[in-house]
């Protein structure tokens, strides 16, 4: 048997005959995992910590995509373009377009990596910071950092989105979802202590580059358009052992924030074996509708759970950030949902493709049990390509976002903007921006089949806001 043949034989034999995890070990793992939950006391907030960063790189979900065209625009930040306008969610994008964000130009250079912060926005709920990084090679991403507000470590949930826009340019937005009140004006210090290089030559483990990149930003809270609604009696919904209770709703020009608590039993889900449990993941969240029944775009959800020792109930404090509204609605409706995602390696994504051809429009593509998208128009412009489509289904934003283009050699082209932009609430019309293409270029529009969303109607909750 040659070397490759022996390798294949050994791999097959060893993988087919792996050792079962002994009960002694399994039991210890279960008790260890359970203890992690019990360590938190009732009503005690989970400390997010100053560096409790949830690093959410947009480039991960778009791995394998190319983004020609926007590198040039971003290199000129902040003079000609805004990261918020190109990569922001609806809140940061519209606020930046309206001139509500503060343009800055603070650069720190170390170890051949230049990081520039060029835009800041604070509305009392979230601080957003736009940044651009230029490097001399490698795939550099921000890593370890410390944050200070007026010299005190910041307690916030941190999300970083970003995208490599060329070989030596990375740009994105850092969002700090705040858990505490900050002054109307303060000094924000961001001290990066290391960057990571994800170049393929380092394998799957990035190389850490230690250094110092320090920023000192003056931050001012938006003064106008902020309305906070609290309740003498909290709006509540109860069903079986589950309860939702709303504490506060905040409307700002950047976001709509809902703070609520949920209480639910700790007991494991019935009728799901351990084996099944390892092959699926149940995503839970909230859909929110305005007083016209229009679903609102969910920007982020953060939550912290706590369980009193010996209690069979778990309490979770949630903050849901949604797209901003132009007016204060009479009420909002919250509907909890679950989606069961398969993590079974045997189940592969099912992509649905159609040739993009002006003459054959409109084209409808199935998204499985979730619904459909119908491409209605393509505009080939000098600096970008605009794809227009309508979505049918119960989760239009999620559906609208699951679209990309492919070239004739299978090259995948991702959207330039952070997400599809909704054009018409009632018709669920969206527009997605792609890099520029020639009109005669062979392209396919691609989406994927999705798991159906399941909602718990009994826990649907109306939040009155006109009092």
């Amino acid at each position: 048997m040659n070397e490759d043949g022996l390798d294949a034989y050994l791999r097959k034999q060893l993988q087919q005959n792996t050792q079962a995890v002994p009960e002694l070990v399994s039991l210890r793992m279960s008790s260890t995992l359970l203890s992690l939950k019990k360590k938190r006391g009732w009503l005690r907030k989970v400390s997010y910590g100053a560096i409790a960063a949830c690093f959410v790189f947009g480039c991960l979900t778009t791995a394998g995509f190319v983004f020609p065209g926007i590198a040039k625009a971003l290199k000129n930040v902040p003079v000609f373009a805004s990261v918020f306008e190109i990569m922001g969610d609806e809140g940061t994008r519209l606020s930046s377009e309206a001139g509500l964000s503060t343009k800055v130009n603070i650069t720190a250079e170390n170890q051949g990596i230049t990081m520039t912060i060029n835009e800041v926005l604070y509305d009392g709920v979230r601080i957003s910071v736009g940044y651009v990084m230029e490097t001399k090679g490698g795939e550099i991403r921000p890593n370890q950092m410390e944050l200070y507000v007026n010299g005190k470590r910041l307690n916030a949930s941190v999300g970083i989105s970003g995208r490599e826009v060329s070989n030596q340019l990375f740009a994105g937005i850092i969002d700090y979802d705040l858990k505490e009140q900050l002054p109307d004006q303060f000094n924000l210090k961001i001290n990066y202590q290391s960057m990571n290089d994800y170049a393929p030559s380092f394998g799957n483990i990035p190389k850490e580059i230690k250094g110092a990149w320090k920023f000192d930003l003056p931050v001012t809270k938006l003064k106008q358009g902020i309305v906070t609604k609290t309740f003498a009696e909290a709006p509540q919904a109860k069903f079986q052992d589950h309860m939702i209770s709303v504490k506060k709703v905040i409307f700002t020009p950047v976001v709509t924030a809902i703070q609520l608590d949920t209480i639910e039993p700790l007991e494991p889900k019935k009728n799901v074996t351990i084996e099944q449990g390892q092959k699926q993941f149940v995503e839970q969240g909230f859909q929110v509708f305005d007083d016209r029944g229009i679903i609102m775009e969910n920007l982020s959800e953060s939550a912290s759970s706590s369980t009193k020792n010996g209690s069979l109930l778990r309490k979770t404090e949630h903050q849901i950030l949604l797209a901003p509204l132009q007016r204060i609605p009479e009420y909002l409706v919250i509907r909890p949902y679950t989606i069961t995602h398969s993590t079974d390696p045997a189940i592969k994504p099912i992509f649905v493709k159609a040739r993009l051809n002006d003459a054959s429009l409109p084209i409808t593509l199935s998204q499985g049990t979730m619904g459909t998208i119908t491409v209605t128009k393509v505009e080939y412009l000098e600096d970008k390509t605009l794809l227009y489509y309508q979505v049918k289904g119960e989760d239009p934003y999620r559906q609208a976002d699951a679209v990309h283009l492919e070239g004739d050699t299978g090259q995948r082209y991702g959207k330039i903007n952070r997400q599809a932009i909704r054009l018409d609430d009632l018709a669920h019309s969206f527009r997605m921006t792609f890099p520029p293409f020639a009109k005669n270029q062979e392209l396919q529009v691609v989406t994927s089949e999705m798991e159906r969303i399941e909602t718990t109607k009994e826990l649907e909750l109306k939040i009155p806001l006109n009092q």
Binding site: E3, L6, D7, L10, R11, Q13, L14, Q15, Q16, N17, T18, Q19, A20, P22, L24, V25, R28, M29, T32, L33, L36, V46, Y48, I51, A52, A53, C54, F55, F57, L60, T61, R141, Q144, S157, Y198, G203, N204, I205, P206, I274, G277, Q278, F281, V282, E283, S305, I339, H341, S342, T343, P345, I347, P349, I350, F351, A402, S448, E449, M450, E451
Partner: protein, 180 residues
């Protein structure tokens, strides 16, 4: 949201990073078998494996927010576990063992399975860990080198030696079977 391992794992890791306990439990359960096999390649007793895995889980729980690339969760977890195994080995080397007892905890279905595991168990520890990571856990040699803080050439030469020994052992097994 696409059906598929990588996309969903990214989402689950993000949830775990935001403090979602269920997501963290799911991830650990997914890799529990891998963690046990790696621990077993270093440590003799199941209880030592449980100790190492427990410490690794606690460290992973504290540190998961610092994991930048959700795709690398498995290699990150195993690297933490290897550190714990090496710590326990170091502690063990400082005490005189009362009994050198090897637990045979695996349950094999076939004679071939038993034979190949006997072969793996017969390897020296430094070869056994390479075999576990490369053949069973499908981890690239470059990553194994980083995990064990060894030059890639050393990993390759150890894999070569392990392969030779396993081939020799299995050949002997076949010869024995022929004679029966």
């Amino acid at each position: 949201v696409k059906r598929g391992v990588d996309v969903d794992q990214t989402k689950i890791v993000r949830k775990a990073q935001r403090g979602n306990h269920e997501a963290f439990v799911h991830l650990i359960q997914k890799y529990e078998s891998s963690m046990f096999r790696v621990a077993k390649a270093f440590l003799k007793s199941d209880s030592e494996c449980a100790d190492a895995m427990q410490e690794a889980i606690l460290k992973a729980f504290k540190g998961i927010q610092a994991l930048k690339e959700p795709d690398y969760l498995k290699t990150w977890l195993i690297r933490i576990l290897i550190n714990e195994c090496q710590r326990i080995l170091k502690q063990n080397s400082q005490v005189i063992p009362m009994v050198d007892f090897v637990e045979r905890s695996y349950r094999q279905e076939t004679q071939q399975g038993l034979e190949i595991w006997e072969a793996v168990q017969s390897l020296e520890e430094d070869l056994r860990i390479i075999v576990t990571l490369f053949y069973i856990e499908d981890i690239a040699l470059t990553d194994i080198a980083l995990m064990l803080a060894l030059p890639e050439g050393t990993v390759k030469s150890r894999l070569y030696r392990a392969r030779e020994k396993l081939a020799h052992y299995l050949q002997l097994g076949e010869e024995r079977a022929d004679k029966l």
